[in-house]
């Protein structure tokens, strides 16, 4: 069976979770991803399952290379010349020092697609600030408004995960262009830009509207704009319920019955009354109503009436949700060392060339000889010399 990226060789020079995972996504769809493990070596997992590596380095090969000497650097350049894609999150000066920033890499391989996660984008005064997601998130304007009033700002970590997918999208889009034109290029996705796109609606609304305390300060859940949408209520067993029924006219008959409010209660019998004139009153009523029954009751009611509402769960829910397993969003695996485990799977389903788990994370240097032989055509003796000289492990 054909794989989407089976003709693509990727060099993975990544350090951070988000960038490494981006390369893993390409590997999931058939790219040959060669991870360059450079010193200092990855830490061993002291006998426990390395759950992180088995996600972010799955389906990759590993070549342990020390590029600090002349021979190591020459070898690195030979590898770049054979690669279709470089994925990296290194700083530009680190890449330049090894002669493999975009200028250097494209001199070695003119049609290379050079994908990089930066902190703050390719240009501007802050272009070379460190690529730390917390710094980027702090600049994105969302951290002071996600929490309840009086609480500290919230760092979600979701921005880095946006960067993961955006970089993979950018690289494949650049490969599409290369397919037609033969031309490579640099692809940059910054943690700053990714955080801003992750916070899509608020930022765009503020850009357009330009003011509004409700964009600059946290909104109490007891002051939510629409009591039936974007709202949070505790249930009898402390589990939280959330509703998304922005069109309250459509939902009111079935919803009011479910929460025990008369459908013709004159305080709430129009959308305007529910979301404007009697908004706070409705919030208070719902606050009481949801506390009369436990979360499980509300889930059953929501499901029966096909309401757009649900109970807020912890990670144990998706970990055991048959829907998640049926779609391979989480995989059940038989790990060679740790037995039955679950690991995050594949968020994209493709009918003809589905993502596959062909191998877990490689050991450092596991595929060195193979890569040197297959990609660079090195004979066994040369490989032996490189290992003896400490250039590859």
């Amino acid at each position: 069976m054909s794989r989407a990226l089976e003709d693509v060789v990727v060099l993975d020079l990544t350090q951070q979770f988000c960038a490494s995972l981006s390369a893993a996504f390409l590997a999931d769809f058939g790219a040959r991803v060669i991870r360059l493990d450079v010193p200092p070596a990855r830490l061993a997992s002291d006998g426990k399952w390395n759950h992180e590596a088995d996600l972010i380095h799955r389906n990759k090969e590993s070549l342990a290379l020390d590029p600090s000497g002349e021979r190591g650097r020459a070898l690195l350049h030979e590898l770049v010349a054979k690669a279709d894609v470089i994925l990296t999150d290194w700083q530009r000066d680190e890449l330049a020092a090894l002669g493999i920033d975009y200028a250097g890499a494209s001199a070695l391989r003119p049609d290379i697609v050079f994908g990089r996660i930066s902190g703050f984008g390719p240009v501007g005064a802050d272009a070379d600030l460190p690529a730390i997601d917390e710094l980027a998130a702090a600049r994105t304007g969302m951290m002071p408004i996600l929490q309840q009033p009086g609480q500290p700002p919230i760092y979600t970590g979701a921005g880095a995960m946006h960067a993961t997918v955006m970089l993979a999208f950018g690289v494949v889009t650049a490969l599409m262009h290369r397919q037609v034109s033969g031309e490579g290029q640099a692809v940059d996705v910054s943690l700053f830009g990714a955080n801003m796109y992750g916070a899509a609606l608020d930022i765009q609304a503020f850009l357009a509207i330009g003011e509004g305390e409700r964009f600059l300060n946290p909104i109490s859940r007891l002051d939510v704009s629409n009591p039936m949408s974007g709202s949070l209520y505790p249930s009898a067993d402390g589990r939280w319920v959330t509703l998304t029924m922005p069109d309250t006219d459509r939902w009111w008959p079935v919803f009011s019955a479910a929460v025990g409010i008369a459908v013709d209660d004159p305080r709430f019998d129009t959308h305007d009354k529910r979301t404007e004139t009697h908004r706070l009153e409705l919030i208070r009523e719902l606050e009481q109503a949801f506390q009369k029954q436990p979360g499980s009751h509300w889930r059953t009611v929501f499901q029966e009436k096909q309401m757009s509402a649900d109970v807020i769960e912890q990670f144990d829910y998706p970990a055991n949700d048959p829907q998640v397993l049926a779609n391979r969003y989480i995989l059940e695996l038989d790990h060679p060392s740790f037995g039955k485990i679950k690991s995050l799977g594949f968020p994209i389903f493709m009918s003809d060339s589905p993502a596959r788990l062909e191998r877990l994370a490689p050991c450092v240097g596991q595929h060195g000889p193979q890569v040197l032989h297959e990609l660079l055509g090195y004979p066994e003796q040369t490989i032996h010399q490189l290992r003896a000289g400490g250039v590859v492990a």
Binding site: L5, M142, V172, D188, Y197, S308, A319, N327, D352
Partner: protein, 402 residues
């Protein structure tokens, strides 16, 4: 300038946010995206009038930004003649994208089986709520799906309510996930000539919004699912601190040399000699005490003074900005994360989210904001699909088009 996705034609039968934003990524890089809308009212996103109780103003940025660079054709797909128009489009297109429920697509004769029988090379993409398999059947909106992932429940201080990651956060993520699936399928198709169907669901994408923590939970760390207090951060040097002004995010490793620099910046040079904090292990052990001490110092100054001191000691930190700061952030404008675009609706330039994926030789572009409902209907029927004028009249009387 060259466009990366030049020559790719996309049928965009999507509503609200996830689907439209997915097609927006393709349109930004030069794909010809044709938005198919019902004649009465079109995409429901056109109806958004307020956000957070604030009126959207004289232009609907919710709809116009994520539907930029697109054409619009109005077709009533409940009519036989309307479906025939869509079938002709499928024959001439590369991608069919929809975030309508698969059962609805099926009932309108728009299943993969049907469309691939017209065009075997079609890349057929859906954005379901909960995935193609498993049988879940319930409405799927950003926040109700996010609720199930566990991403909300781990945020906030202990015993505080769960935290929503922000309006549209999961839709935006599902959108780019779907765009990735589509370009993967297109790249492969150029080699093999084969189409296929793909799905990027809201649930599947959102499980990755908190991937580091969910994977840690799956690896046996049960507390990754729980709320954690910043007052007990394991490394006090990597934490949020209040100042007399804004909060500050301090991002330093727990190392002696960095701690000494921090102490100097806080104007507390003897603090590093405090026996409770004299090594990395001790600082981790006495983390709560150290966080209190640092906080007492950061509260003495406002964020500007603190940041000045941090910069001079090369301490890595950032003020926690608000949206009013962000829209003025030069770094965002210079990198085209924000751009100006002409808005026909109000006849002036407006400010919009720009291009978060920077391609050096085939950069994205914003040529127009979202189309008017059905603005390209007749032109597409004639030029792309080869309908004669009398046929178009017949389609109008059959109410297949407005």
């Amino acid at each position: 300038m060259a466009k990366a996705l030049e020559g790719i034609r996309v049928i965009d039968l999507t509503v609200w946010f996830q689907g439209p934003v997915s097609a927006q990524y393709l349109a930004d890089f030069g794909a010809e995206v044709i938005k198919v809308e019902r004649p009465q009212g079109g995409d429901q996103g056109r109806g958004v009038r307020s956000i957070k109780s604030l009126p959207v103003g004289d232009w609907n940025q919710y709809f116009l930004v994520i539907n930029r660079n697109k054409k619009s054709i109005a077709i009533d797909l409940k009519t036989e003649a309307g479906r025939e128009i869509l079938y002709r489009m499928v024959a001439k297109s590369d991608v069919f994208l929809s975030n309508l429920a698969p059962e609805m697509l099926e009932s309108w004769g728009l299943s993969y089986e049907k469309l691939s029988s017209i065009n075997p090379q079609i890349v057929y993409a859906t954005n379901t709520g909960y995935g193609r398999f498993g049988g879940a059947s319930k409405p799927a909106f950003d926040m109700t799906v996010q609720a199930l992932t566990g991403a909300m429940a781990r945020l906030g201080e202990p015993s505080e309510p769960p935290v929503y990651l922000g309006m549209g956060s999961g839709d935006a993520y599902g959108g780019v996930m779907s765009a990735l699936g589509i370009v993967l399928a297109l790249y492969q198709r150029r080699r093999t000539g084969r189409g296929q169907y793909l799905d990027a669901s809201l649930y599947g994408a959102q499980l990755f919004l908190a991937a580091p923590w969910l994977q840690s939970f799956l690896g046996g760390h049960r507390d990754a699912a729980l709320q954690h207090s910043r007052k007990r951060a394991e490394n006090p040097l990597w934490n949020l601190y209040p100042s007399a002004g804004k909060w500050i995010f301090l991002c330093e490793p727990n190392e002696d040399e960095r701690f000494t620099a921090l102490c100097r910046a806080l104007d507390a040079p003897s603090l590093h000699a405090d026996p409770r904090f004299a090594s990395a292990a001790l600082r981790a052990q006495h983390n709560e005490a150290l966080i209190e001490v640092i906080e007492a110092h950061t509260l003495k100054r406002d964020h500007a003074a603190l940041m000045g001191a941090f910069v001079s000691e090369s301490v890595v930190a950032s003020p926690v900005n608000n949206l009013a700061d962000v829209v003025r952030d030069e770094q965002a404008w210079q990198n085209k994360y924000f751009m100006k675009a002409y808005c026909e609706e109000v006849q002036r330039e407006v400010e919009v989210r720009g291009l978060p994926v920077t391609l050096s030789k085939t950069p994205g572009e914003i040529n127009s904001l979202g189309p008017q409902l059905g603005q390209d209907t007749e032109l597409l029927l004639m030029d792309l699909l080869g309908y004669e004028w009398d046929e178009i009249e017949a389609l109008k009387s059959a109410r297949a088009i407005p």
